[in-house]
């Protein structure tokens, strides 16, 4: 495969909602709720501090959440916020790629935190003035792996249509899925870890000439499914919405599987881990990032961007890995050099992983 004819990632646009709350403010807001059922509230506060998240940007002001006491109210709020935040991310991405809105041929929309029909991508055709012949692919349910999987699927599409431009939009508003009455440990951990955000990625087929110099190209992708691990992560869809399924086995599964999967993928392309200059890892949480570092024998600085992103915004599910990619592409000072290789990787419900080999 000629890497210069591979789909290019021309830009990443990132958007965070405006309502910033630091972790201690959120802990204080949860304390009363936890005390309804739990005796040792300090233990739960420590859990929220242990996820190494400094704060989150929320879709709504903090004081508006208690009134969202039904699935319908939360999902209605989700549609409104997803629509405006998604539009902002797409506008920023197109501006950074120096492309007009009319250039977009295909919009992939990824989420796992809300539902809408017509889907948010359809709403954005109106809001952004996208073309009437735009192809749309809304994808629900991939969870944290969705950002990596979305890049891979968009790249697949562009190999078939090398003259086209695709936008991958991920919007995750995790705060609007919170089950306030679920005081289980997995839900308490999730409420400390997950945040809200949107990221849009502009990808151009191999026939296009990206307007920005030195952008990464999607050289190859790999999906890996781990059989019989359905209860590791996901949602139980209940009357009140999405109830989190989160197992402590995620880091050990990463440790067991990721090294073999990455090595096999790279070997297929005549590469090994020493050739990868840039690691773009999903910010699953501090234990998941440590598992990546240990299993892949990465130097301490390799996942610095992922750690920083986790600290600044929390885990943004499918958008997280796109935020990390955007930060790498927009870095000032020492940006990636021509010929550099990168590996973008994420894991999510299934359980599964998606690997994307990049070349600058």
């Amino acid at each position: 495969m000629n890497p210069l004819r591979s789909p290019a990632i021309s830009a990443v646009g990132r958007a965070l909602p405006p309502h910033r709350a630091d972790q201690e403010t959120l802990i204080a807001a949860f304390r009363e709720l936890w005390a309804k059922q739990h005796f040792n509230v300090e233990r739960l506060e420590d859990l929220h501090r242990a996820v190494r998240v400094g704060g989150r940007n929320l879709a709504l002001p903090l004081d508006q959440y208690p009134a969202l006491d039904t699935f319908q109210k939360r999902n209605d709020a989700w549609i409104r916020a997803a629509r405006s935040l998604g539009a902002e991310a797409v506008r920023r991405a197109l501006e950074a790629a120096r492309l007009p809105v009319e250039a977009v041929d295909h919009l992939f929309f990824i989420t796992v935190t809300g539902v809408a029909t017509p889907s948010v991508d359809a709403l954005l055709v109106n809001d952004l003035g996208l073309r009437a012949d735009l192809k749309r692919t809304p994808i629900f349910g991939l969870g944290c792996v969705g950002g990596a999987a979305g890049i891979a699927r968009a790249a697949d599409y562009l190999r078939g249509f090398p003259g086209h431009t695709a936008v991958l939009l991920s919007v995750e508003l995790c705060s609007l899925t919170l089950q306030r009455e679920d005081l289980s440990i997995p839900n308490i951990i999730a409420s400390g870890l997950f945040g809200d955000g949107a990221a849009a990625v502009v990808l151009q087929g191999g026939d296009a000439r990206p307007s920005r110099p030195r952008v990464p190209r999607v050289v190859a992708t790999r999906a890996v499914f781990y059989r019989d691990t359905e209860r590791i992560m996901g949602w139980d869809v209940v009357d009140t919405g999405f109830k989190v399924v989160l197992s402590a086995k995620v880091p050990s599964l990463v440790k067991e599987r990721i090294r073999g999967d990455v090595d096999a993928f790279l070997a297929e392309h005549g590469l090994d881990r020493s050739r990868i200059a840039h690691w773009v890892a999903h910010t699953g949480g501090p234990k998941v990032l440590r598992a990546f570092e240990e299993a892949l024998e990465l130097p301490p600085s390799a996942l610095e961007r992922s750690h920083r992103s986790l600290e600044e915004t929390g885990n943004l599910s499918s958008a997280s890995v796109l935020f990390v990619l955007g930060e790498l592409m927009d870095v000032e000072g020492e940006p990636p050099r021509e010929g550099d290789l990168g590996l973008l990787l994420a894991m999510g419900p299934g359980f599964c992983s998606e690997l994307v080999l990049l070349r600058w």
Binding site: N40, R43, P186, L246, S247, A248
Partner: protein
């Protein structure tokens, strides 16, 4: 005659069995001598769920230093009994 500490120990054993069976779907028999990690294969989140469940039921706090000496179901039931009786003293 059963001492107050023995009585709480038995209650704690019952609660451990309930949490493991009902909340954590542990299928193995929960005997007092079974090791929580080596035999029952509890992971960190399940251990935490167990500890929090016992704290809520018996209104005691179990800290990290306590956990260092707890290997088996019996160790955990003894710890809860000790904490409850310390609170009563």
């Amino acid at each position: 005659m059963v001492s107050p500490e023995d009585d709480v120990r038995q209650q704690a054993l019952g609660e451990i069995r309930r949490i493991l069976g009902e909340e954590l779907a542990v299928a193995a028999a929960v005997e007092p001598g079974k090791a929580l990690v080596a035999d029952l294969h509890l992971d960190s989140m399940e251990l935490l769920t167990l500890a929090v469940g016992l704290e809520n039921r018996f209104r005691v706090k179990l800290n990290e230093a306590d956990g260092a000496g707890v290997k088996t179901v019996d160790d955990l039931a003894n710890l809860v009994a000790r904490r409850v009786c310390e609170g009563r003293a």
